[in-house]
Amino acid sequence: MEFLDALATSWPTLLKGLQVTLLLTFLTLFFSVILAAIIVALKMSKVRAFSAFATVYLAVVRGVPLIALLFVIYFGIVSIVKVDAFTAATIGLSVHSSAYVAEIFRSGINSVHSGQVEASRSLGMSRAATMIRVVAPQALRVVIPALVNQAIISLKDSAVASFITVDELFMSAQRLSAATFQPLTYYAIVSLYYLAVVGVMTYLSGRVERYFKKRG
Protein backbone atom coordinates (compact mmCIF):
# COMPACT_ATOMS: atom_id res chain seq x y z
CA MET A 1 0.00 0.00 0.00
CA GLU A 2 3.00 2.18 -0.47
CA PHE A 3 1.37 3.54 -3.62
CA LEU A 4 -1.77 4.70 -1.81
CA ASP A 5 0.37 6.32 0.87
CA ALA A 6 2.32 8.15 -1.77
CA LEU A 7 -0.92 9.17 -3.48
CA ALA A 8 -2.31 10.46 -0.19
CA THR A 9 0.78 12.39 0.89
CA SER A 10 1.84 13.85 -2.46
CA TRP A 11 -1.32 15.70 -3.36
CA PRO A 12 -0.50 19.10 -1.83
CA THR A 13 2.70 19.28 -3.92
CA LEU A 14 1.12 17.92 -7.07
CA LEU A 15 -1.94 20.11 -6.77
CA LYS A 16 0.31 23.17 -6.72
CA GLY A 17 2.03 21.87 -9.84
CA LEU A 18 -1.34 21.13 -11.42
CA GLN A 19 -2.39 24.74 -10.91
CA VAL A 20 0.64 25.92 -12.85
CA THR A 21 -0.01 23.33 -15.57
CA LEU A 22 -3.66 24.37 -15.92
CA LEU A 23 -2.75 28.04 -16.06
CA LEU A 24 -0.06 27.31 -18.64
CA THR A 25 -2.51 25.27 -20.72
CA PHE A 26 -5.20 27.92 -20.52
CA LEU A 27 -2.82 30.70 -21.55
CA THR A 28 -1.47 28.52 -24.37
CA LEU A 29 -4.97 27.96 -25.67
CA PHE A 30 -5.91 31.61 -25.35
CA PHE A 31 -2.87 32.95 -27.15
CA SER A 32 -2.69 30.19 -29.73
CA VAL A 33 -6.29 30.85 -30.77
CA ILE A 34 -5.50 34.55 -31.24
CA LEU A 35 -2.24 33.79 -33.06
CA ALA A 36 -3.97 31.20 -35.23
CA ALA A 37 -6.73 33.63 -36.20
CA ILE A 38 -4.08 36.15 -37.28
CA ILE A 39 -2.15 33.50 -39.21
CA VAL A 40 -5.28 32.30 -41.01
CA ALA A 41 -6.22 35.87 -41.90
CA LEU A 42 -2.72 36.43 -43.28
CA LYS A 43 -2.81 33.12 -45.11
CA MET A 44 -6.12 34.01 -46.78
CA SER A 45 -5.03 37.55 -47.56
CA LYS A 46 -4.81 38.69 -51.15
CA VAL A 47 -1.51 40.39 -50.33
CA ARG A 48 1.13 37.95 -51.51
CA ALA A 49 3.66 38.89 -48.80
CA PHE A 50 1.17 38.21 -46.01
CA SER A 51 0.17 34.78 -47.24
CA ALA A 52 3.82 33.91 -47.88
CA PHE A 53 4.69 34.88 -44.31
CA ALA A 54 1.90 32.66 -42.99
CA THR A 55 3.07 29.74 -45.11
CA VAL A 56 6.63 30.05 -43.80
CA TYR A 57 5.42 30.45 -40.22
CA LEU A 58 3.34 27.27 -40.46
CA ALA A 59 6.17 25.32 -42.11
CA VAL A 60 8.74 26.37 -39.51
CA VAL A 61 6.58 25.86 -36.45
CA ARG A 62 5.30 22.49 -37.58
CA GLY A 63 8.70 21.34 -38.76
CA VAL A 64 10.53 21.92 -35.48
CA PRO A 65 10.18 19.69 -32.39
CA LEU A 66 8.38 21.44 -29.56
CA ILE A 67 11.33 21.11 -27.21
CA ALA A 68 13.71 22.66 -29.74
CA LEU A 69 11.28 25.51 -30.35
CA LEU A 70 10.95 26.02 -26.62
CA PHE A 71 14.71 26.10 -26.08
CA VAL A 72 15.27 28.50 -28.97
CA ILE A 73 12.60 30.84 -27.67
CA TYR A 74 13.74 30.55 -24.04
CA PHE A 75 17.44 31.12 -24.67
CA GLY A 76 16.73 33.50 -27.53
CA ILE A 77 14.50 35.75 -25.49
CA VAL A 78 16.61 35.54 -22.36
CA SER A 79 19.57 36.81 -24.34
CA ILE A 80 17.61 39.95 -25.29
CA VAL A 81 15.25 40.69 -22.42
CA LYS A 82 14.96 39.15 -19.00
CA VAL A 83 11.84 36.98 -18.88
CA ASP A 84 10.99 34.20 -16.49
CA ALA A 85 10.72 30.59 -17.55
CA PHE A 86 6.92 30.58 -17.25
CA THR A 87 6.55 33.44 -19.73
CA ALA A 88 8.97 31.80 -22.13
CA ALA A 89 7.07 28.51 -21.86
CA THR A 90 3.77 30.29 -22.51
CA ILE A 91 5.20 31.91 -25.63
CA GLY A 92 6.79 28.68 -26.88
CA LEU A 93 3.74 26.51 -26.30
CA SER A 94 1.42 29.14 -27.81
CA VAL A 95 3.51 29.48 -30.96
CA HIS A 96 3.72 25.71 -31.29
CA SER A 97 0.00 25.16 -30.76
CA SER A 98 -0.99 28.10 -33.00
CA ALA A 99 0.19 26.27 -36.12
CA TYR A 100 -2.14 23.37 -35.41
CA VAL A 101 -5.03 25.60 -34.37
CA ALA A 102 -4.55 27.55 -37.61
CA GLU A 103 -4.95 24.33 -39.60
CA ILE A 104 -8.06 23.50 -37.58
CA PHE A 105 -9.51 26.96 -38.32
CA ARG A 106 -8.69 26.63 -41.99
CA SER A 107 -10.42 23.29 -42.31
CA GLY A 108 -13.41 24.70 -40.43
CA ILE A 109 -13.64 27.66 -42.79
CA ASN A 110 -13.32 25.37 -45.80
CA SER A 111 -16.13 23.21 -44.45
CA VAL A 112 -18.61 26.10 -44.81
CA HIS A 113 -20.40 25.81 -48.14
CA SER A 114 -19.36 28.40 -50.74
CA GLY A 115 -23.04 29.26 -51.24
CA GLN A 116 -23.02 30.81 -47.78
CA VAL A 117 -20.34 33.27 -48.79
CA GLU A 118 -22.13 34.02 -52.05
CA ALA A 119 -25.43 34.63 -50.27
CA SER A 120 -23.76 36.95 -47.80
CA ARG A 121 -21.76 38.86 -50.40
CA SER A 122 -24.87 39.16 -52.59
CA LEU A 123 -26.55 41.06 -49.77
CA GLY A 124 -23.78 43.63 -49.92
CA MET A 125 -21.92 42.35 -46.87
CA SER A 126 -18.15 42.90 -46.95
CA ARG A 127 -15.57 40.13 -46.93
CA ALA A 128 -14.84 40.84 -43.28
CA ALA A 129 -18.50 40.94 -42.20
CA THR A 130 -19.13 37.72 -44.12
CA MET A 131 -16.27 36.02 -42.32
CA ILE A 132 -17.30 37.26 -38.86
CA ARG A 133 -21.07 36.92 -39.07
CA VAL A 134 -21.63 34.05 -41.51
CA VAL A 135 -18.58 31.83 -41.90
CA ALA A 136 -16.99 31.91 -38.44
CA PRO A 137 -20.13 30.98 -36.46
CA GLN A 138 -20.67 27.97 -38.72
CA ALA A 139 -17.01 26.99 -38.74
CA LEU A 140 -16.87 27.19 -34.95
CA ARG A 141 -19.31 24.31 -34.56
CA VAL A 142 -17.21 22.15 -36.81
CA VAL A 143 -13.90 22.96 -35.13
CA ILE A 144 -14.89 22.59 -31.47
CA PRO A 145 -14.12 18.85 -31.21
CA ALA A 146 -10.76 19.38 -32.92
CA LEU A 147 -10.07 22.40 -30.71
CA VAL A 148 -10.76 20.42 -27.54
CA ASN A 149 -8.45 17.73 -28.86
CA GLN A 150 -5.77 20.36 -29.40
CA ALA A 151 -6.34 21.62 -25.84
CA ILE A 152 -5.72 18.09 -24.56
CA ILE A 153 -2.51 17.92 -26.58
CA SER A 154 -1.43 21.30 -25.21
CA LEU A 155 -2.08 20.13 -21.66
CA LYS A 156 0.18 17.13 -22.16
CA ASP A 157 2.76 19.15 -24.12
CA SER A 158 3.03 21.58 -21.22
CA ALA A 159 5.05 18.94 -19.35
CA VAL A 160 7.93 19.93 -21.63
CA ALA A 161 8.06 23.27 -19.80
CA SER A 162 9.77 21.42 -16.96
CA PHE A 163 12.88 21.31 -19.18
CA ILE A 164 13.20 25.07 -18.87
CA THR A 165 12.59 24.91 -15.09
CA VAL A 166 8.91 25.79 -14.98
CA ASP A 167 7.57 24.37 -11.74
CA GLU A 168 4.51 22.69 -13.19
CA LEU A 169 2.89 19.31 -12.57
CA PHE A 170 5.51 17.12 -14.20
CA MET A 171 8.33 19.01 -12.48
CA SER A 172 6.61 18.42 -9.13
CA ALA A 173 6.62 14.69 -9.79
CA GLN A 174 10.27 14.86 -10.78
CA ARG A 175 11.13 16.52 -7.52
CA LEU A 176 9.12 14.02 -5.51
CA SER A 177 10.74 11.06 -7.23
CA ALA A 178 14.21 12.52 -6.74
CA ALA A 179 13.56 13.08 -3.04
CA THR A 180 12.12 9.63 -2.40
CA PHE A 181 13.98 7.47 -4.93
CA GLN A 182 10.60 6.14 -6.08
CA PRO A 183 10.42 7.32 -9.71
CA LEU A 184 7.91 4.69 -10.82
CA THR A 185 5.45 5.57 -8.05
CA TYR A 186 5.44 9.29 -8.64
CA TYR A 187 5.49 9.18 -12.42
CA ALA A 188 2.54 6.77 -12.26
CA ILE A 189 0.74 9.12 -9.90
CA VAL A 190 1.38 12.17 -12.04
CA SER A 191 0.10 10.22 -15.05
CA LEU A 192 -3.13 9.67 -13.17
CA TYR A 193 -3.41 13.43 -12.63
CA TYR A 194 -3.04 14.10 -16.35
CA LEU A 195 -5.49 11.33 -17.14
CA ALA A 196 -8.07 12.80 -14.75
CA VAL A 197 -7.85 16.28 -16.27
CA VAL A 198 -8.06 14.90 -19.80
CA GLY A 199 -11.10 12.88 -18.72
CA VAL A 200 -12.84 16.03 -17.49
CA MET A 201 -11.99 17.91 -20.71
CA THR A 202 -13.31 15.07 -22.87
CA TYR A 203 -16.54 15.00 -20.88
CA LEU A 204 -17.02 18.76 -21.25
CA SER A 205 -16.35 18.63 -24.99
CA GLY A 206 -19.08 16.04 -25.34
CA ARG A 207 -21.48 18.38 -23.57
CA VAL A 208 -20.50 21.31 -25.81
CA GLU A 209 -20.92 19.22 -28.95
CA ARG A 210 -24.36 18.10 -27.89
CA TYR A 211 -25.34 21.70 -27.16
CA PHE A 212 -24.42 22.79 -30.68
CA LYS A 213 -26.14 19.78 -32.25
CA LYS A 214 -29.35 20.68 -30.52
CA ARG A 215 -29.26 24.23 -31.89
CA GLY A 216 -29.29 22.71 -35.35
Partner: protein, 260 residues
Protein backbone atom coordinates in the same frame (compact mmCIF):
# COMPACT_ATOMS: atom_id res chain seq x y z
CA UNK B 1 -51.03 43.51 -54.17
CA UNK B 2 -52.83 42.98 -57.46
CA UNK B 3 -54.24 39.57 -58.20
CA UNK B 4 -51.99 37.36 -60.30
CA UNK B 5 -54.56 37.11 -63.08
CA UNK B 6 -54.38 40.82 -63.86
CA UNK B 7 -52.70 41.12 -67.24
CA UNK B 8 -49.50 43.08 -67.04
CA UNK B 9 -48.67 45.74 -69.50
CA UNK B 10 -45.05 45.27 -70.48
CA UNK B 11 -42.95 48.26 -69.55
CA UNK B 12 -42.13 50.53 -72.44
CA UNK B 13 -38.38 50.87 -72.93
CA UNK B 14 -38.10 54.58 -72.24
CA UNK B 15 -35.18 56.17 -70.49
CA UNK B 16 -32.33 54.35 -68.94
CA UNK B 17 -32.50 50.56 -68.70
CA UNK B 18 -32.08 49.10 -65.21
CA UNK B 19 -29.55 46.59 -66.48
CA UNK B 20 -27.48 47.06 -69.58
CA UNK B 21 -25.16 44.26 -70.65
CA UNK B 22 -22.84 44.94 -73.53
CA UNK B 23 -20.61 42.43 -75.28
CA UNK B 24 -20.47 40.23 -72.20
CA UNK B 25 -18.06 37.33 -72.53
CA UNK B 26 -16.95 34.87 -69.92
CA UNK B 27 -14.56 31.96 -70.15
CA UNK B 28 -13.50 29.45 -67.55
CA UNK B 29 -10.07 28.42 -68.73
CA UNK B 30 -10.48 27.29 -72.30
CA UNK B 31 -14.23 26.88 -72.23
CA UNK B 32 -16.23 29.87 -73.42
CA UNK B 33 -19.46 30.14 -71.42
CA UNK B 34 -20.74 33.52 -72.61
CA UNK B 35 -19.88 34.82 -76.01
CA UNK B 36 -20.55 38.53 -76.52
CA UNK B 37 -24.02 38.94 -75.03
CA UNK B 38 -25.96 42.21 -75.37
CA UNK B 39 -29.02 42.53 -73.17
CA UNK B 40 -31.00 45.40 -71.65
CA UNK B 41 -33.57 44.95 -68.92
CA UNK B 42 -35.99 47.85 -68.44
CA UNK B 43 -37.24 49.16 -65.12
CA UNK B 44 -40.16 46.99 -63.99
CA UNK B 45 -39.49 44.35 -66.59
CA UNK B 46 -39.51 40.62 -65.87
CA UNK B 47 -36.92 38.94 -68.09
CA UNK B 48 -36.87 35.16 -68.03
CA UNK B 49 -33.78 33.32 -69.21
CA UNK B 50 -34.34 29.82 -70.52
CA UNK B 51 -32.18 27.40 -72.41
CA UNK B 52 -30.46 24.03 -72.22
CA UNK B 53 -28.15 23.33 -69.32
CA UNK B 54 -24.68 24.66 -69.95
CA UNK B 55 -26.06 27.49 -72.05
CA UNK B 56 -24.64 30.07 -69.66
CA UNK B 57 -27.91 31.27 -68.07
CA UNK B 58 -26.70 31.11 -64.48
CA UNK B 59 -23.30 32.51 -65.40
CA UNK B 60 -24.93 35.50 -67.10
CA UNK B 61 -27.07 36.09 -64.01
CA UNK B 62 -24.05 35.82 -61.72
CA UNK B 63 -22.14 38.27 -63.88
CA UNK B 64 -24.86 40.88 -63.28
CA UNK B 65 -24.07 41.14 -59.57
CA UNK B 66 -20.38 40.38 -59.94
CA UNK B 67 -20.34 36.91 -58.40
CA UNK B 68 -18.59 36.02 -61.64
CA UNK B 69 -16.21 38.39 -63.34
CA UNK B 70 -16.68 39.11 -67.01
CA UNK B 71 -13.74 38.27 -69.24
CA UNK B 72 -14.79 41.02 -71.65
CA UNK B 73 -17.67 43.46 -72.05
CA UNK B 74 -19.54 45.39 -69.40
CA UNK B 75 -22.53 45.39 -67.10
CA UNK B 76 -24.26 48.61 -66.08
CA UNK B 77 -26.91 48.96 -63.43
CA UNK B 78 -28.86 52.21 -63.68
CA UNK B 79 -26.06 53.52 -65.84
CA UNK B 80 -23.34 52.74 -63.30
CA UNK B 81 -20.73 50.42 -64.64
CA UNK B 82 -20.01 47.35 -62.54
CA UNK B 83 -16.56 47.49 -60.97
CA UNK B 84 -14.89 44.68 -59.13
CA UNK B 85 -13.38 46.70 -56.30
CA UNK B 86 -14.70 45.49 -52.96
CA UNK B 87 -16.34 48.76 -51.90
CA UNK B 88 -17.99 49.35 -55.28
CA UNK B 89 -19.25 45.78 -55.44
CA UNK B 90 -20.76 45.98 -51.96
CA UNK B 91 -22.50 49.26 -52.75
CA UNK B 92 -24.00 47.81 -55.94
CA UNK B 93 -25.06 44.55 -54.31
CA UNK B 94 -27.01 46.38 -51.62
CA UNK B 95 -29.53 47.19 -54.31
CA UNK B 96 -29.48 43.91 -56.22
CA UNK B 97 -31.14 40.95 -54.53
CA UNK B 98 -30.23 37.40 -55.44
CA UNK B 99 -32.08 34.16 -54.83
CA UNK B 100 -30.22 30.88 -55.28
CA UNK B 101 -31.23 27.42 -56.37
CA UNK B 102 -30.03 25.95 -53.06
CA UNK B 103 -31.56 28.77 -50.92
CA UNK B 104 -28.29 29.34 -49.02
CA UNK B 105 -30.03 30.47 -45.87
CA UNK B 106 -27.68 30.99 -42.92
CA UNK B 107 -28.24 27.75 -40.98
CA UNK B 108 -27.08 29.15 -37.64
CA UNK B 109 -29.74 31.86 -37.65
CA UNK B 110 -33.52 31.71 -37.36
CA UNK B 111 -35.74 32.78 -40.26
CA UNK B 112 -36.18 36.28 -38.90
CA UNK B 113 -32.47 36.63 -38.07
CA UNK B 114 -31.67 35.65 -41.65
CA UNK B 115 -33.83 38.53 -42.85
CA UNK B 116 -32.39 40.94 -40.24
CA UNK B 117 -28.71 40.20 -40.85
CA UNK B 118 -27.86 42.43 -43.81
CA UNK B 119 -30.19 45.18 -42.62
CA UNK B 120 -28.08 45.49 -39.49
CA UNK B 121 -24.68 44.70 -40.96
CA UNK B 122 -24.98 46.70 -44.18
CA UNK B 123 -27.76 49.24 -43.71
CA UNK B 124 -26.89 49.79 -40.01
CA UNK B 125 -30.51 49.60 -38.96
CA UNK B 126 -31.21 49.04 -35.29
CA UNK B 127 -32.14 45.56 -34.20
CA UNK B 128 -35.70 46.71 -33.48
CA UNK B 129 -36.16 48.34 -36.89
CA UNK B 130 -34.66 45.34 -38.68
CA UNK B 131 -36.89 42.97 -36.74
CA UNK B 132 -40.01 44.94 -37.56
CA UNK B 133 -39.20 45.03 -41.26
CA UNK B 134 -38.18 41.35 -41.32
CA UNK B 135 -41.37 40.38 -39.59
CA UNK B 136 -43.45 42.27 -42.17
CA UNK B 137 -41.54 40.68 -45.04
CA UNK B 138 -41.93 37.19 -43.64
CA UNK B 139 -45.66 37.83 -43.33
CA UNK B 140 -45.66 39.00 -46.94
CA UNK B 141 -44.24 35.65 -48.08
CA UNK B 142 -46.70 33.82 -45.84
CA UNK B 143 -44.32 32.76 -43.09
CA UNK B 144 -45.47 34.80 -40.07
CA UNK B 145 -45.75 31.52 -38.14
CA UNK B 146 -42.17 30.49 -38.82
CA UNK B 147 -40.16 33.55 -37.81
CA UNK B 148 -38.35 31.79 -34.97
CA UNK B 149 -37.65 28.53 -36.87
CA UNK B 150 -34.18 27.53 -37.94
CA UNK B 151 -33.79 26.73 -41.66
CA UNK B 152 -33.31 23.03 -40.87
CA UNK B 153 -36.88 22.97 -39.54
CA UNK B 154 -38.37 24.48 -42.71
CA UNK B 155 -39.41 22.83 -45.96
CA UNK B 156 -37.57 23.72 -49.15
CA UNK B 157 -40.40 25.96 -50.27
CA UNK B 158 -40.43 27.77 -46.95
CA UNK B 159 -36.66 28.18 -47.00
CA UNK B 160 -36.80 29.70 -50.46
CA UNK B 161 -39.51 32.12 -49.37
CA UNK B 162 -37.32 33.19 -46.43
CA UNK B 163 -34.48 33.67 -48.91
CA UNK B 164 -36.70 35.93 -51.02
CA UNK B 165 -37.67 37.92 -47.92
CA UNK B 166 -33.99 38.18 -46.98
CA UNK B 167 -33.18 39.70 -50.38
CA UNK B 168 -36.20 42.03 -50.25
CA UNK B 169 -35.11 43.35 -46.86
CA UNK B 170 -32.49 45.46 -48.61
CA UNK B 171 -35.17 47.13 -50.78
CA UNK B 172 -33.53 46.00 -54.01
CA UNK B 173 -34.27 47.69 -57.28
CA UNK B 174 -33.44 44.49 -59.13
CA UNK B 175 -33.97 40.85 -58.18
CA UNK B 176 -32.00 37.98 -59.69
CA UNK B 177 -33.42 34.47 -59.44
CA UNK B 178 -31.11 31.56 -60.23
CA UNK B 179 -33.33 28.53 -60.82
CA UNK B 180 -35.26 29.25 -57.61
CA UNK B 181 -37.50 26.20 -57.86
CA UNK B 182 -35.12 23.61 -59.32
CA UNK B 183 -34.17 22.13 -55.94
CA UNK B 184 -37.75 21.90 -54.72
CA UNK B 185 -40.11 18.95 -54.53
CA UNK B 186 -42.81 19.41 -57.19
CA UNK B 187 -45.57 20.16 -54.68
CA UNK B 188 -43.54 23.05 -53.20
CA UNK B 189 -42.80 24.83 -56.48
CA UNK B 190 -46.16 26.62 -56.59
CA UNK B 191 -45.77 28.56 -53.34
CA UNK B 192 -42.43 30.01 -54.44
CA UNK B 193 -43.67 30.93 -57.91
CA UNK B 194 -46.69 32.59 -56.30
CA UNK B 195 -44.44 34.88 -54.25
CA UNK B 196 -42.42 35.71 -57.37
CA UNK B 197 -45.59 36.40 -59.32
CA UNK B 198 -46.77 38.86 -56.66
CA UNK B 199 -43.37 40.53 -56.73
CA UNK B 200 -43.62 40.94 -60.49
CA UNK B 201 -47.13 42.36 -60.13
CA UNK B 202 -45.76 44.90 -57.68
CA UNK B 203 -43.45 46.15 -60.41
CA UNK B 204 -40.15 44.63 -59.31
CA UNK B 205 -37.51 44.42 -62.01
CA UNK B 206 -36.58 40.75 -62.23
CA UNK B 207 -34.19 38.54 -64.14
CA UNK B 208 -35.15 34.91 -63.68
CA UNK B 209 -33.37 31.76 -64.78
CA UNK B 210 -35.90 28.97 -64.74
CA UNK B 211 -37.16 25.80 -66.34
CA UNK B 212 -40.76 26.60 -65.36
CA UNK B 213 -42.31 27.30 -68.75
CA UNK B 214 -45.72 28.08 -67.30
CA UNK B 215 -44.18 30.77 -65.13
CA UNK B 216 -42.32 32.15 -68.13
CA UNK B 217 -45.53 32.22 -70.13
CA UNK B 218 -47.61 33.92 -67.43
CA UNK B 219 -45.20 36.31 -65.78
CA UNK B 220 -42.42 37.14 -68.21
CA UNK B 221 -42.50 40.35 -70.21
CA UNK B 222 -39.72 38.93 -72.28
CA UNK B 223 -38.27 35.46 -72.69
CA UNK B 224 -34.63 35.14 -73.65
CA UNK B 225 -33.43 31.81 -74.95
CA UNK B 226 -29.75 31.21 -74.42
CA UNK B 227 -27.76 28.42 -76.04
CA UNK B 228 -24.03 27.87 -76.36
CA UNK B 229 -23.21 31.17 -74.70
CA UNK B 230 -25.32 33.34 -76.99
CA UNK B 231 -28.87 34.67 -77.26
CA UNK B 232 -30.70 32.47 -79.74
CA UNK B 233 -34.09 34.07 -79.54
CA UNK B 234 -35.82 36.74 -77.48
CA UNK B 235 -39.19 38.40 -77.34
CA UNK B 236 -42.60 38.17 -75.67
CA UNK B 237 -43.30 34.69 -74.28
CA UNK B 238 -45.98 33.82 -76.82
CA UNK B 239 -43.56 34.52 -79.64
CA UNK B 240 -40.50 32.74 -78.23
CA UNK B 241 -42.36 29.80 -76.72
CA UNK B 242 -45.02 29.25 -79.39
CA UNK B 243 -43.54 30.55 -82.62
CA UNK B 244 -39.79 30.36 -82.37
CA UNK B 245 -37.86 31.22 -85.50
CA UNK B 246 -34.56 29.45 -85.08
CA UNK B 247 -34.04 25.70 -85.32
CA UNK B 248 -32.04 25.78 -82.08
CA UNK B 249 -35.03 27.26 -80.22
CA UNK B 250 -37.45 24.79 -81.80
CA UNK B 251 -35.26 21.85 -80.83
CA UNK B 252 -34.98 23.07 -77.23
CA UNK B 253 -38.70 23.67 -76.83
CA UNK B 254 -39.53 20.28 -78.33
CA UNK B 255 -37.25 18.68 -75.78
CA UNK B 256 -38.85 20.59 -72.90
CA UNK B 257 -42.33 19.58 -74.03
CA UNK B 258 -41.47 15.91 -74.41
CA UNK B 259 -40.23 15.98 -70.80
CA UNK B 260 -43.66 17.21 -69.72
Amino acid sequence: MTSPSTPKTPPVPTGQPRVSIKGASKSFGDSVVLNGIDLDVQVGEVAVLIGPSGAGKSTLLRCINGLERLTAGSVEIDGVRLQYREAALNRMREHVGMVFQSFNLFPHLTAIENVMMAQMSVSKRSSADARERASALLARVGLEEKTESYPSALSGGQQQRVAIARALAMSPKLMLFDEPTSALDPELVGEVLQVMRELADDGMTMVVVTHEMRFARQVADRVILLADGGIVEEGPPEKVLDNPESDRAKAFLRQIESNG
